[in-house]
Symmetry: C2
Subunit: 132 residues, 2 copies
Amino acid sequence: MSADSGTWTITELASQYDVTLRTIRFYEDRGLLTPERRGTTRVYHPRDRVRLALILRGKRLGFSLDEIATIVDMYDAEPGEEGQLVYLLNQITRRRADLEQRRHDIEQTLHDLAEVEARCQADLEKLRTGSA
Amino acid sequence: MSADSGTWTITELASQYDVTLRTIRFYEDRGLLTPERRGTTRVYHPRDRVRLALILRGKRLGFSLDEIATIVDMYDAEPGEEGQLVYLLNQITRRRADLEQRRHDIEQTLHDLAEVEARCQADLEKLRTGSA
DNA sequence: CTGCTGGTTGACGCTTACGTAAACGTAAAG
DNA sequence: CTTTACGTTTACGTAAGCGTCAACCAGCAG
């Protein structure tokens, strides 16, 4: 039963997100996850689960773990002092620019793929009517 | 003059796209670029330039060089036989799915960032009006 | 001839992100 | 008591994507 009391074991988390135990422990090594320890065993709370999900999303987007670390840490940053807040806002602006560039690249690529596809289907048509 | 006769040297290409010579040669090693050889010197044609641009776009999107290779090769695939065309169309479908997933991830992340930003600005407001 | 400038090929080095044992602890089940 | 399941740490291995020499060649300026 995974939904015991809102905590999970490492194997449960691994199978839920389809990653290996090694991977999860590695993320902890890099400071991305900080599960509770019950004895020597790791216990993961909802917070850890969310962070893992964010990490994996970052990975799908091709960010390095270092970049992901700074992104994920932005999410649960304490209010802090003014300097911190301003810094954070700047980081956000940079990240947004990055992401918008990516989105643009993606749309460009999708457009290109559509052209290639059209060409393909035209060639296919020609082949079939030609040999008919 | 870079636009000599529609060809470029490796240094020209490198500075245009802001990559190192090593990188360009490495891409050739991996079969992504196939410049002409004039003696021992590499001569890059428009085709190579386009491919380099596509490679870099792929990199910005976080694709591995292997993935990029298959993508870029789709662009200048010869018409070929029916089996090839069908295969290509399948590849395109897969790529599209992948890209749409990424786009979704990006939009999600942008949305999240907007929330963090709002929180930040609220905190900032509170700080400033509080200390005023 | 000398010395730049710009090109070439190795080949070793380095970081990232894990994979893959090896060797051990613990607790329930047969 | 032994097996089985599940957890742990330590540590070496590896593939990708270049950085960074080193050592060489060719052409042109002075």
